[in-house]
């Protein structure tokens, strides 16, 4: 990421970062670095992503 030649010419240094469960993919253009989803890897149907578990049923003690 820091190795991008384009970074040093970006004013201000701007990166668009999109993270999903395992991998973020980025591409470079003339004066910016843009991170985008790899849509093949990121799919709700595949269950990839950040989930938040329930606390569930009450347990007595």
């Amino acid at each position: 990421m820091k190795g991008s030649n384009m970074m040093q010419y970006t004013t201000p240094a701007m990166q668009i970062v999109e993270l999903h469960a395992k991998t973020a993919i980025c591409s470079t253009s003339n004066n910016s670095v843009t991170w985008t989803y790899n849509n093949d890897r990121f799919s709700p149907d595949q269950g990839i992503g950040w989930d938040r578990p329930d606390y569930g049923d009450l347990v007595n003690f």
Binding site: K2, Q15, I16, T23, C26, T28, D51, P53, Y55, G56
Partner: protein, 313 residues
């Protein structure tokens, strides 16, 4: 008067003349910083999964089940090495979509392999991970567990940066960092529910977390342990809820030791009650919804005593 009238236009001319120079210097400085790994601004968008509703916590099934949801308007804090680098907004679609996007801007001096990103909810105005100041309310109010103490994290490690590809490791889920306990207090003598104004919990093993901070040497979040006081907004004889983190464990499978909690309770008439409860090890894990009743005994001062008598439970 004439001199004053001349001074202001001249001052404005001087300021106007300086402006382009400052902008040019700023531009040059930015280019130099870019070559020297200056702080970068990252716009971070995280696709997150869970049911979305208007509540973060949802007590259902006759108060027997506690579910979690993303909440519209909720924010997620992003920490690197214990320092907050930005907030992500929870963006939800209409209805109850299964996914939510977390989006926002963080500023950081270049990610590198091994960097750990901690995504933490809820985001508090004081940016703290703190369990003190609870009022026993589960949802809705400003100081409720839902808004202030229902912490969940997703911890990600930058595994590799290869050209244009960054790979992170770590669980692809948020983890609840505490359990939610529901405590009811019963006067062991009457017996009837105590009208509780305030109570304090003590751990025999001193493992009740008060707050967490990041240890830069161990690269871990670590608790300050101590007693935990819950102060009800108004006294109540109904059960009170507590977000309680016991110890610092990286998972729920690490064995805990059973503990004995002791309680002191102040009722609406400022009477003091003492009680205790043995807590099995499997009731000290994170992410559970737990319920118990504590039998407490009122402490009656002997006129000749200067300290409260020891209560027996």
């Amino acid at each position: 008067m004439k001199a004053k009238h001349l001074f202001i236009p001249v001052l404005l001319l001087i300021l106007a003349a300086c402006e382009p120079v400052e902008l040019e210097n700023e531009y040059q400085r930015t280019l130099v910083e870019g070559k020297n790994s200056a702080d970068s601004v990252y716009t971070l968008t995280v696709q997150a999964f869970k049911n979305v509703d208007t509540k973060a916590l949802d007590l259902v099934n006759g108060d027997q089940t506690l579910n979690t949801y993303w909440k519209n308007g909720e924010k997620v804090q992003v920490f690197i090495n214990g320092n907050g680098y930005g907030l992500l907004d929870v963006i939800c679609g209409d209805g109850k979509p299964k996914t939510a996007t977390l989006s926002g801007t963080i500023t950081y001096n270049g990610l590198k392999v091994g960097d750990v990103l901690t995504l933490l909810i809820p985001s508090r105005n004081d940016a703290k991970w703190d369990y003190t100041g609870q009022n026993g309310v589960l949802t809705e109010t400003e100081a409720s567990i839902e808004k202030m103490f229902d912490y969940a994290t997703a911890i990600l490690t930058i595994e590799s940066i290869e050209g244009t590809k960054v790979t992170t490791t770590g669980p692809a889920t948020f983890r609840n960092e505490q359990s939610i306990y529901r405590f009811a207090f019963t006067n062991a003598t009457t017996p009837s529910a105590v009208n509780v104004k305030k109570f304090t919990i003590y751990s025999s093993n001193n493992k009740i977390s008060n707050s967490l901070s990041f240890n830069g040497i161990n690269k871990q979040w670590e608790s300050m342990f101590g007693s935990l006081t819950v102060t009800a907004s108004s006294s109540t004889n109904k059960p009170l809820y507590v977000a309680l983190r016991y110890g610092d464990y990286t998972d729920n499978t690490t064995a805990r030791e059973a503990d004995n909690f002791s309680f002191d309770v102040i009722d609406n008439d400022a009477a003091l009650y003492l009680g205790g409860k043995a807590v099995p090890a499997d009731k000290l894990v994170y992410g559970k919804f737990l319920n118990t009743t504590i039998n407490v005994s009122q402490v009656v001062l002997n006129p000749n005593q200067t300290t409260p008598a020891t209560s027996v439970w």
